[in-house]
Amino acid sequence: MGLKLQQSQHQHHSVAVKVNEQTGTKRGYTFIQANRAWLPKFLLLWVMVMAFLSTWIYKKMDADIKVRRKEVLSSMCDERARMLQDQFSVSVNHVHALAILISTFHYYKNPSAIDQETFAEYTARTAFERPLLSGVAYAERVVHSERGEFEKQHGWTIKTMQREPSPVRDEYAPVILSQETVSYIESLDMMSGEEDRENILRARATGKAVLTSPFRLLGSHHLGVVLTFPVYKSKLPTRPTVEERIEATAGYLGGAFDVESLVENLLGQLAGKQAILVNVYDITNSSDHLIMYGHQNQDGDLALLYESKLDFGDPFRKHTMICRYQQKAPTSWTALTTAFLFFVICLLVGYILYGAAIHIVKVEDDFHEMQELKVRAEAADVAKSQFLATVSHEIRTPMNGILGMLALLLDTDLSSTQRDYAQTAQVCGKALIALINEVLDRAKIEAGKLEMETVPFDLRSILDDVLSLFSEKSRNKGVELAVFVSDKVPEMVMGDPGRFRQIITNLVGNSVKFTERGHIFVKVHLAENTKPVVDAKVETCLNGGSDGGVPISDAHQFKTLSGYEAADERNGWDSFKHLVSYEESRYDASINMTVPGETSQSVTLMVSVEDTGIGIPLIAQDRVFMPFMQADSSTSRNYGGTGIGLSITKCLVELMGGHISFVSRPQVGSTFTFTADFGRCKKASFNDTKKSNTEDLPSSFRGLKAIVVDRKPVRAAVTRYHLKRLGMLAEVAGSVKIAASACGKNGSSCGSKIQPDIILVEKDLWLSVEDGGLSLRMLDWKQNGHAFKLPKMVLLATNITNVELEKAKAAGFVDTVIMKPMRASMVAACLQQVLGIGNKKQAGKDVQNGSLRSLLCGKKILVVDDNMVNRRVAAGALKKFGAAVECAESGKVALKLLQIPHSFDACFMDIQMPEMDGFEATRQIRMMESQANEQMNGGGIDKGFTRKGEWHVPILAMTADVIHATYDECLKCGMDGYVSKPFEEENLYQAVTKFFKV
């Protein structure tokens, strides 16, 4: 609260600062909030990282795919190479077999078992064994010396490849046997072809199959190689030399491999032939690769190729197969989509996070804004209350001026119209002031500035005051107004009398406003007493509520104060009676022993204000305590008021540590009940403060006895309560007859318990009862009780007409009618008048005045002052209190007057005087006195008239400036005290009591 108030005193700026401070210290910024500027950058970074990641994923997947592709390629290539090699070697083996066939059947048999015809047929029929060979042929080795014989034998000449008769050479190798497919090469000298010749030479030297480098084959234009096998005439030694081989050579078997169609065939058998491209190279000459199959300049995937070795059985020649994919590697969609999806997902995730962060930031911003607004709103609220308080206060000041002037105006000579106007203005002004005071209170409470006093006060007299405030109104309306305070409630309590009075005034004022008939009843008791009351209620319910002691004439009447139904039955007689009787028993007990509750520091009182007004509509009951809220708008039209009173009351009650509640039934009435905590008064302080705070009730009625005649027990209890406060003993009688008979009986028998001094009769009862009977009774009484002092008859009434008054007088009542609402002091005044006692005190003067008077009366006092005016005023003031005053205008004169013996009782001495000031004069007086005292002590026994043992006249300084130093100086020079110069009664009283003990 302190902070808030402080805040509101500053303006927006400080509020804003405060907000920052608050948020700064309270929770600090969150990470997100602190880095809000970085959020887009974070997003960008995230996107970039994710892009990088997805690229990496793509690359990785792509690489995997490539590796797999390569593996596939290599496996395919190897497969092809192996198949080619296998097929090739199968063919080569077969050719080998043919070579052996020829050597066996052509050379070892004589004559030869094979001729062209046999050979052609055999080879044709075994051609399936050699699918790769377009054909085979056998060429015989013919030395030049044998050429003629050979040609003769076969009948043709040896021809070269160009189909010309062969020139002379050392050797020839004419084809003698050939397959039909290659029959066109018969008689051709194989040695004439460069490749064939080389082949033949190499084959007979190694004895193995040898291959040519690829070349365009005769007949077909396919590329091919020629396979050559040597055929030996005789068996060779196990390890033949080259010469032996050459010597043993009989001829050569050759076959042409059509590599191109061979490979084509082969690939055709395999799956995926379109997928890859296959090239076969002869790499014998490593610098110049000769292509055996495939196109040299093929488009295709040049990036990836695989090489497989081919071994066709010829160690001299090396071959290799190179495979590559027909098409470039297709873009890998899976990798691409995976990466892309990954990227998209990450992008979305990033965006969601970003969005969330932005949202958090926004929410936090909003939160801070709200917080700031909240602080501002609170500040504004406090400021509003302060403003209200200030403005109300500021309005009050000129309003007081206006009201004062109006009051003065009303005192002047005005015409009736003017007076009317002025009075209206005054009434309005008073209403406005009342309203402003209420608003001010409300604002003060809201601003938390209302502080409760803690001073001792008399609850009962405050209640009396409040009641007297409303007595006029209630009397005009014919509404009974009464107060009852339980005996258990301490006489003095510590609390805020002003606020308590305000609460009671508010509640009673409301009740008076809304009540047209019946009663308004204020009841105060200790909160602890409510419990037995509840018990009592149960009990009476069980008993059926029968009430023998009180005769009820109208059965339908309720047992409340006025007989009207009240909203809260708890205030009815049934429980009230119990409360009273309970109290009595407790009260009696508490006289002897200390009441246990007395030791506790605080006392909780329960106050209820009951009325029989229009009540509060049920729908409005829950907002009764809300400010500016009346039951409905018509209420303010009919009854006026702002509706702020009850909310203030509630606040005040809560400040007093209690709570307020109400029970209300429309058209029946309302009962407001509140509790409040008060401090218990210590006995010591209580006696001091009593004088200043309470009206003193006269004690002259103590011990008097009274009979209250009232049919309504609650009302009777109230009357009894007031009488009790005056110290009177009161009895309640239900009717005049009962009272009269009781008195009569008591009167005749002398040892009576009750000899009433006063009989108080309720007017309602008296009017309803036959007055003739009553007056008869009275006469009776007078005759019987002539020996005694007759009891006085007093009428109690809320309002009374002159006719009724006359009738009452005729019936034997005294003049005075005690008008309700009753107050102890008022009752006392009336009874004084009736009984003619207790008039010693001057009415209208306050207590101190009286006591001061009693102190100073008859005393002889010397006033010493050089200032004539002061002298006169002081003398006048002292004379007023009955003192005999003599004056002296200087210290010297005073000395002369105070020569011993003198008859002064006191001396008031001014301090600042010319010639001899007060201090000096006092010193001299004291010197004189001490001399006289010494003399007296010396031979004092002879002198019979020692006055008071010693001479010491009290000297009081009179000074305008009451500083403590001055006071000390006064005491130093022998003065007894001081009074401030313009005499204040209280001051004077205090100073004088010191030495004028009564």
Binding site: D411, T412, D413, M868, V869, R872, G876, K879, Q912
Partner: protein
Amino acid sequence: MLGLAADRLRADMNRLLAFLFHQGILDEQFLQLQQLQDESSPNFVSEVVNIYFHESEKLLRSLRSLLMDREFSDYNKMGIHLNQFMGSSSSIGANRIRNVCVAFRAASEQNNRAGCLRALELLEHEYCFLKNKLHELFQIQQQRVLAAGVRYPMQNI
């Protein structure tokens, strides 16, 4: 008619008193003075005030002569006079005069001649004003007493 006149006179008196109080010319001491007046001393207030006027005029005269006569004034004596003036003024509740006296005394203690002269003039002015007003008041009071003499005593109503 007479009753009305008495009312009017009472109202006039109240107004005048309210004015004097409002202007700060008088304070509550004057009221206390009025309370001291009762049947035993019916003219107590006017008596005291007349003494006051008498004394004050003497004091004012001597103050003026002290200030005018010599070039070098006797401030000590002036202080004594002023103290007396102040005392009597506060006794009858002449608040404004008392305040001027305080200022005057302060000036005299500082030997401030110009200040003293100014204060003296002010004092004389205030004194005349008060005198006039109080005379007016007493006049009304006189009339009222005369008027009230015809009627019932007011207290019992």
